[in-house]
Point group: C3
Chain length 321, copies 3
Amino acid sequence: MSGETETEMRKCTILSSMIDNRYRAEIPEIVDLVASSCSDRNCFDHLDAAVIPSREAMIEIIDLLRDVLFPGYFGDQTVDRSVLPYHIGNEITILFEKLSKQISNSIIHDCDRYEENCTECLEQGQEETIIFLKKIPEIRSLLASDIIAAYEGDPAAKSHDEIIFSYPGIFAMTVYRSAHELHKQGISIIPRIMTEHAHSVVGIDIHPGARIGKGFFIDHGTGVVIGETCEIGDNVRVYQGVTLGSLSFPKDETGQIIRGQKRHPTIEDDVIIYSNATILGGDTTIGARSVIGGNVWLTKSVPPDTKVIIAEPDLIFKEKH
Amino acid sequence: MSGETETEMRKCTILSSMIDNRYRAEIPEIVDLVASSCSDRNCFDHLDAAVIPSREAMIEIIDLLRDVLFPGYFGDQTVDRSVLPYHIGNEITILFEKLSKQISNSIIHDCDRYEENCTECLEQGQEETIIFLKKIPEIRSLLASDIIAAYEGDPAAKSHDEIIFSYPGIFAMTVYRSAHELHKQGISIIPRIMTEHAHSVVGIDIHPGARIGKGFFIDHGTGVVIGETCEIGDNVRVYQGVTLGSLSFPKDETGQIIRGQKRHPTIEDDVIIYSNATILGGDTTIGARSVIGGNVWLTKSVPPDTKVIIAEPDLIFKEKH
Amino acid sequence: MSGETETEMRKCTILSSMIDNRYRAEIPEIVDLVASSCSDRNCFDHLDAAVIPSREAMIEIIDLLRDVLFPGYFGDQTVDRSVLPYHIGNEITILFEKLSKQISNSIIHDCDRYEENCTECLEQGQEETIIFLKKIPEIRSLLASDIIAAYEGDPAAKSHDEIIFSYPGIFAMTVYRSAHELHKQGISIIPRIMTEHAHSVVGIDIHPGARIGKGFFIDHGTGVVIGETCEIGDNVRVYQGVTLGSLSFPKDETGQIIRGQKRHPTIEDDVIIYSNATILGGDTTIGARSVIGGNVWLTKSVPPDTKVIIAEPDLIFKEKH
């Protein structure tokens, strides 16, 4: 090994560490800039806040919930009927711990962003968790009706198992139906974190405030938007890209938008809405058993037993040049 | 430190543990409720089942497959050409273990939900895995044609590398082309779990049963739906939101929908379908070299060499009030 | 325990291991097939490359960046204002290490796929990282304007906190605004990996090259596509499924598509574009304060202060049979 190479290597190392030091030396100034700039309307911060509702914790909770709602489907071990109570018992206990912490955090977050040890908030968090956990059989029964609707509504479905294992609409409904119950209990932030997680996973955006009857089937689902004040009856079927949204919304005298009004449509029982149809407005009602065709854009009510299809567009057939 | 504060703190702890016990005491009743309610049509369970096809395992398998299909792109270490056989050897061995387990599970799941030690099922799982692994060069060659099509079809593409590293359509096709081969072998559940994983990651929903020729390019891709019985030729290009779906499907005398018929369109070679176009029906054929414009809604066949564009809508231009 | 069962079990084990060996024996042949087939246009490989830009590392960097941009919202611990400089200091230091490594890798990847120890590349990577980190206050200020726009534009938004914790549009903009700065610095591959990660998480596809003013709000967002050469003014609002895309693009004499031209529209200040509207072409300009209705398909410019809505389709109301 020649001395030259060794010298070169040493030169290289020295050079490299010089570079390193040169740029690294700028870090304190940047830290100062970044930390000090966070003091006005140009920065939203959540400093000194006692609690952080945790998206990661909510995802864990959703996974646990799913395992309780569909026993034996999603765990990493098989579950025998004989040990089911122990299995469920273990999971409900963990759910209680984790969910009551998040609900308490959400209550503390609302009640006063800065008080960490509000005993009442902790108590209320546990109480709300118990109320929620008692609703599991009811949520499960609604989800069973959704699975049956999927099997009856999709010729590509090979089995109920396949639907539970893989259908995005069932995942969205599992999360929505759970989040909706928490929303009804008046818990803030957490229900939306839950449904936005489902939105992120399957591309289906259902606001936790929407009201949806039994036997709801969303096929494919990407791009579906169901707004906060929607009211949907039983046995409704909806395809990808369907929007149930709001028309432009009124503002008060000061120019602030008015929140909390019914802004989204009412869909009665047994309606089918095909892909990319858009139905808007709080006064818009789609009557029972009606069928809304693909790409339809509706801002007016439709009576029951009606088919609404878009007029055939003037397709222009011409030889390509 | 005053004695008062200490007393207060103790009071608080006692209070807090009392609350805790009060709500915690309700857990057994809830467990009983949740476990016992799982015994009718209101609950889908997978209890006493010997096997659980695992989504997590399939995601690991997809990652391994991607590394074998595109050597050196996705691992956490660089791969030299000289050690490639060892690298591939290692990955194929792991793939064989993991994939044959999942395929066997899927076969056992189908053959009889309750028999864990079906030797024939295990054997068949390994045989099907070997058959699949031998198809890797063919799958790789098809994917290479897809990457070339992406580079030729997208002015924003800076390099083949950028396409492989980041394009969602290539990820969807990697998963679909692998799942499709398993689907052709008659493996159930697993292919759909694979494509629904891709659907979740990139918003592109391709049923593993669809047949797609070489050089297929999906740009942007969110919202694309390609149904189970689609037949797509070579060098077809498709943009975001395109649906190749089914019209309403026939039911038998008992009111059950009929499964397994061709319900989705045929797209011939060299066709381009722009964003949010919808083409429906098993008898609908788009002739070779045709171009389907954005937002077009088609339920009828189109001859070769045709441009189909939606008639210009009557846009209403008016001064805003 | 009868001897018979034992014998049977042994038989079973022997049989099972025979099967195992039979299929396992085929692995070397498959490895050979897979490794040797990777030597032509049928296989894209990244072998012998010194560096691999890492999607996983970029995701970690995005999470760190988000915590620096919104202090106290996303960490797993609460942050007091008094310790903010230490918190930020720690995160900026880690960001410098991780990001400069990725940027250097990207520069090495471009400069010469095979030279690992290019000192200049390492130096340039660190320099570019310092330049980027100094822009954090500016990025944060733009994001604050986006959050305010979301609160003012969405009646369902309950608080700024809810928007930061859960709105997909804010996540997309956080990633885009960071990636755009790296893109402006001429860093390749990494910005696109970043925005494709956001695309995957929230279904919103913004090319890092697009230029977007302050106060930009994307509601719901799934399916939104904003192309590379878009120019968007201040206070623009956009809903799910909106495409700002290109018309068919010109090719040069050799049939290669021409890259780098303005192919995407210009949107002036205070424009609103409703769901699933599509606006195409590099010469298309939407004038200030205009409103583009849902499902509109536009390839022509629109003057300022204009409302463009699709003509009401001839809906066909008929009794269902």
